[in-house]
Amino acid sequence: MTSSATTRADTRPDLDPRGPRFGAAITAVLLLVVVFLSLTGASVAALVGLAALGALFAWGAFAGAGRHPYSVLFRRFVRPRLSPPAALENAAPPTFAQGVGLLVTLTGVVLGLIGLAPAVGVCAAIAFVAAFLNAVFDYCLGCQVYVLLVRAGAFGRPVA
């Protein structure tokens, strides 16, 4: 006995769940490079790198996780070599995660631009942890952060 599935807020096509994890792996490696550059004092390179990654997050957040360049790479070169996915997943959660990534990297870029160079490395490290957990452990940022937004009252009053 079961109720109908929860309603979907998004009409974007469903994704192979391995696609966003593939993208998160590339992102995690690049974020680690930014952390390294920031630690070694290559502040400008770190800032430019984080800004570039922020732009990629913005692409995923606004165009949808399925239209992200890594997602295109995955579909063209990786997925043909894999067995078909057990199930597809809604594009909304990974798209939301891209938005959270954008927020974190943008914070680092803004703080870096006003002269707070270590913030670039710190924000890259925070974004790295989320991307790494997503890629390696199938951690879902939306599953945790979105419900906290609900509890903070971000989505209106409860339905009586």
Partner: protein, 158 residues
Amino acid sequence: MDPIIALSLVLALVAGATVLGLVWQARQGRAAVIVPGAPAAQGTPLTQADVGSPVPFGANGTLVQFSTDHCARCPGTHVLLAGLARQRPGVAHVDVDLTHRRDLANRFGILQTPTTLILDGTGRVRARIGGVPNGADLLQQLDHLTGSNHDQLSHHTR
């Protein structure tokens, strides 16, 4: 900073994230039993009306799944729990979208979706599972609740 030290810090970050991931993974999907009368038991039993469910609660127990529309694991959990509920008579599965139910999210202190509550026949919360449930663990909890002999069977097969 010296590149060797910087590299060590980068590796420490990877190690830290790995530990975090392993801890997170170990806690996912396991049923935490809630003793009746404990603060976590949330006092009054939950009703069909409380969660706005179109489906009646089960006579023997109910799996209340809390989801949102931005939860990658919720649809899979829905399929899993619906299947598990079908395996046990008098057990219902109810999927509640929390997106516009801040009251419920706060009442049960939901920190992640999916979160599943196992209710007994009277609607009292008896166990709670964060993340995608472990099917065998959940069935054992259900059988324990209903006093079914499936429980003994599952003990023997361990």
